[in-house]
Subunit: 226 residues, 2 copies
Amino acid sequence: MTDSETPAFLFDLDGTLLDSVYQHVIAWQRAFADVDIDPALWLVHRRIGMSGSLVAARVASESGRELTDAEVERVESLHGAHYQEMLDAVRPLPGARDLLLALSGADIAWAIASSSSRSEADALVAKLNLGMEPTIISNDEVSTAKPDPAAFLAAADRLAVRAGRCIVVGDAVWDVLAARRAGMLAVGLLCGGRSASEFEQAQALRVYADPADLLANLDEIGVLLD
Amino acid sequence: MTDSETPAFLFDLDGTLLDSVYQHVIAWQRAFADVDIDPALWLVHRRIGMSGSLVAARVASESGRELTDAEVERVESLHGAHYQEMLDAVRPLPGARDLLLALSGADIAWAIASSSSRSEADALVAKLNLGMEPTIISNDEVSTAKPDPAAFLAAADRLAVRAGRCIVVGDAVWDVLAARRAGMLAVGLLCGGRSASEFEQAQALRVYADPADLLANLDEIGVLLD
């Protein structure tokens, strides 16, 4: 970053702006149960934030079953249906809306980069009640999902900012790893249920509790809103 | 421990022997929603393993609501009802049954000490299909739940072993803190979704993935089965 550049923010969605991680875990459990797999749920939780196909394949493998591509697709689709049934209970995380509007108010560019499908991402963003249409890169817009850096690179591209100017904000270590692969810095949030040490090990720039905590401490990462 | 004493094991139940933590999180969300509280779910997850009344009171407080004793009781009871509906999906954790039977087979004493009610604990233990009636201290048998050491002290008493001989096995940092208050050692398991560093910070003797991993590595904590 040169002196004259302000950072741009790239936000993960599930577990970062919306409190949806625990619903995803239960939806995955139900999807796996439909194909007679009973994974230990902490292994599912660890994988949340990866693409659905990676979650399906890796969790099944850790439970002793190797899935065919068709089976992966089926489990993903079952997960989507079960998750849909739990969507009503998903709430914005504290400060999510305030943080995004504060950045917009200060003319700081931001976008959302999610491993979810476009329709799932849109349904979550609607809950934020932003009164504007944010830039969203969903899993429909890139061929490889996190921890591959494609989604973050596409989001930076859409904002027309170079990767080195971007700060990723995510609740999963996969966000941090994808950010580093993309040559970006990353801030970890604890509100997806992961621990500070996981983010520290992945060399996150800084770790905060949730969007409200990040908003209150933006000055710590050198971002001033006025 | 003197040379002649073999250790006795005291097991937490939810998240340690049974994969019930994520169901508890969703059941708490539904119970809080019934009284118009929308807690961030990672704060609920952090509190799992404490007594129900502590979870209710502390999570509500962290969400900006102070509950009366009657409200705490009501949220606890709502949680119990919602959890009951999800109980069918709760599975034993890998190795749970094998570990307990292996200890029994080697004449190593063990008991279960849970923050759940007696009826909830019995329903979970039935899923382990042990073919015997284990010693169980539930929240019905002690006046204060974890992180208070009462449950572990009562379990040691029931086994007629002194506290210093006991090794607690739990998936929550509250198990480790209660064990240390009781003058016991504690082993942390990752299968409740907490991270190794939390157990290390609480000075657990050792951390394993799940009961199967502990069973495979009992020699590391000086326990030989034959």
